[in-house]
Symmetry: C2
Subunit: 120 residues, 2 copies
């Protein structure tokens, strides 16, 4: 079974999680039955490790990590691979794949540009 994790940086503000919940709700509506978790690098709960654990516990064997980042920086290029290396050791039967950062995707760029124009 496949599963998706929306991977974010995390922040002190508890309302930071709101957009992640909105993305998850949309993904669940588009793909009923595909488990979707949210996991963070720091500050916001749950940590990525806990999200991976939750998906594996639900029988997921292929996990796609979607970085909710504007661009691949240190967190996506260094921290994320380290977390996934640990997860691969812990769950040798699970496959992991990392998608493009959302900020690299044409449709997301277009939607952000439209918002900038609408705001002006």
């Amino acid at each position: 079974m496949k599963g998706i994790i929306l991977f974010g940086h995390g922040a002190r503000n508890p309302e930071y999680v709101a957009p992640f919940r909105r993305i998850r709700a949309r993904v669940e509506a588009m793909q009923p039955g595909v488990p979707v978790e949210i996991g963070f690098l720091e500050l916001t709960q749950p940590p990525l490790e806990a999200s991976i654990e939750a998906l594996v516990a639900r029988g997921v064997s292929e996990i796609r990590i979607v970085p909710i980042f504007f661009a691949p920086g240190r967190h996506v290029l260094k921290d994320l691979p380290q977390l996934l290396a640990n997860a691969m050791d812990r769950f040798p039967g699970t496959e992991f794949e990392v998608a493009e950062c959302v900020g690299e995707v044409d449709a997301v760029i277009a939607a952000m540009a439209a918002h900038a124009v609408a705001a002006a």
Copy 2:
């Protein structure tokens, strides 16, 4: 004259600026003649202050700041207003308006969700 600033966090990786340039190119294509600058809180050049200065020097008197953030956290709720308070002191003839964070906008949420689904 109106102008737009795409306001981002900044990162060590020099490629971090790429999506911001793509958003700017789209906005310029949608609204030719409206000056668009990119400005960062830290690490990436130019700082927000320099972008404001550049727009004012081009004759812009109404600046819309579009936070390229997923959610309003400390940087958008505390750091940005402080930077703008300083800018208002420096440029008393300039009006500033802050748009919603891109991550709060329905169309952006939808595009991110579509990417998560496409990735899976």
